[in-house]
């Protein structure tokens, strides 16, 4: 069953086409590494899938619904470039806010559970503005995962993470895959991404240059894809 279907998608910023006729699908339970150079269109595509932006042309179906449908957003977890948590709120208040927005039945229990899972229970009442970078990142991970999403959209998830946050995120991603969730992540850290990925898509200047299963040779030589399908 397809978790994401992208059909003939174009996205223009003014006259500039950031995405050009991109079409592919992602099966449920797959982990897709979305690769490409800077400016290739990875973030634009992820933003459209997350319902943060609309296509200029073409059609996108996410979990068999429109990307902006409420039921779809309830089942998507997004971790973008920004951490998406409030500086003036405590760690607990941040997670409580998002637990309420996602309509969790027991926001207090959910928030405290995720503070424990990300090792932040000791600082639950501390304001985020006083947190270290690593603590903020772990809180962001908790924010993206707390409603147990069926589809995870991660934009450069390993960038600027400290060792502990990388471990937390990798464990959560493996757990999510084991639970049958689908993951789409854009990344420049090929080795970490390809270790987890079951599928690979390469975008080059807004066009889909490669789409297929992750193979052993990609894992042994992560730059193989760029050499064969990317820009010189």
């Amino acid at each position: 069953m397809s978790a994401v279907a992208i059909e003939g998608v174009w996205k223009f910023f003014g006259d500039y086409p950031a995405l050009r006729d991109v079409s592919f699908g992602v099966d449920s339970g797959a982990c897709l590494a979305l690769l490409g150079r800077n400016g290739a269109g990875k973030t634009t595509l992820l933003r459209i899938l997350a319902g943060l932006s609309r296509t200029s042309k073409g059609r996108i179906t996410v979990l068999n619904e429109d990307a902006r449908a409420e039921i779809t957003r309830r089942r998507i977890g997004v971790l973008g470039h920004g951490i998406g948590v409030y500086e003036e709120l405590s760690a607990l208040e941040n997670l409580l806010l998002f637990a309420r927005l996602y309509g969790m039945e027991n926001p207090d229990r959910t928030a405290n559970e995720w503070l424990a899972r990300t090792g932040l229970e000791r600082v639950r009442d501390g304001l985020v503005r006083e947190f270290s970078r690593g603590m903020r990142q772990r809180l962001a991970v908790a924010r993206a995962f707390l409603h147990q999403p069926k589809l995870l959209l991660l934009d450069e998830p390993f960038t600027a993470l400290d060792d502990r946050a990388i471990k937390v995120l990798q464990d959560l991603l493996k757990g999510a895959l084991a639970d049958g969730s689908t993951i789409i992540m854009s990344t420049h850290q090929l080795r970490e991404a390809l270790e987890l990925a079951t599928d690979v898509a390469l975008i080059n200047r807004g066009k889909l240059a490669f789409r297929g299963a992750r193979t052993r040779e990609m894992l042994e030589d992560p730059s193989w894809l760029y050499r064969n399908y990317g820009e010189a």
């Binding site: 933003r47 997350a50 319902g51 943060l52 932006s53 609309r54 902006r68 409420e70 039921i71 957003r73 309830r74 998507i76 997004v78 973008g80 470039h81 920004g82 951490i83 998406g84 948590v85 409030y86 500086e87 003036e88 709120l89 208040e93 806010l97 998002f98 309420r100 927005l101 996602y102 309509g103 304001l127 924010r143």
Partner: protein
């Protein structure tokens, strides 16, 4: 109920952030008090002229100070890309907008409530016996400023010159609401009864608030996502 719970979650978040940082209310209140002080030098507080322009002065201060609060409303969401996290959540644009409107409304009313007695002292104006009626005008006029200002705050959030763009865009839109609020406030501060000829301004204020609330709720999803 779920709709309102999520709206109030946004409101509570904004108010809690403001209580902790105090940056918006402090800036807005200081600005309002400085304008009141400066205007008091420009006009003779003992003259009858002051009673004729009292409503205008008051609402000019409210509108100027209000834009400082409204400007920050969506801009504060840019830190850490919180706006994306909110838009990606199952909260509709209407819920996000209404949650922010209520928070902005509360902050604006706090600033206005502090300014009102200061205005009375600086301008030697006796607050009217029908103070309740003046508060009703403040509630209606302020909601008008809030609904327009919050929508345009969302529209201009990604603009480099948003501090300039927001007042430039909202003041012309606010003319009917400000005219109504100014007219009624002037009459009430002068201690005159609100006659049949001024009742029309109440209707203008109510109609303005209703029409623009409905329009904004309908349009905000397009403003936020495109």
């Amino acid at each position: 109920m779920k709709f309102l719970r999520q709206v109030f979650a946004i409101t509570a978040k904004d108010l809690r952030s403001e209580v902790r940082s105090k940056d918006t209310v402090n800036a807005s209140l200081s600005f309002a008090l400085v304008i009141l002080l400066l205007f008091s030098f420009a006009f003779d507080p003992s003259s009858d002229q002051i009673r004729e322009i009292a409503g205008g002065l008051l609402w000019l201060v409210f509108a100027f100070a209000g834009t400082l609060i409204l400007n920050r409303s969506f801009a504060r969401e840019l830190v850490n890309d919180c706006l994306d996290a909110l838009i990606a959540s199952p909260v509709s644009g209407a819920q996000l907008y209404l949650g922010k409107c209520i928070a902005n409304y509360a902050l604006l009313l706090i600033v206005e409530t502090v300014c009102l007695p200061v205005f009375a002292v600086f301008y030697n104006v006796r607050l009217p016996r029908s103070l309740v009626l003046l508060f009703v005008v403040m509630l209606l006029g302020t909601w008008g400023i809030t609904v327009i200002g919050t929508l345009f705050s969302a529209m201009t959030v990604n603009l480099r010159l948003r501090e300039l763009m927001l007042p430039t865009l909202i003041y012309p839109m606010l003319i009917p609401a400000l005219m109504g609020a100014i007219q009624l406030s002037t009459v009430l501060i002068a201690g005159d009864p609100v006659g049949a000829d001024n009742e029309i301004w109440f209707r203008v204020l109510v109609a303005f608030d209703l029409i623009f609330t409905i329009l904004a709720v309908g349009l905000v999803e397009i403003v936020l996502v495109g």
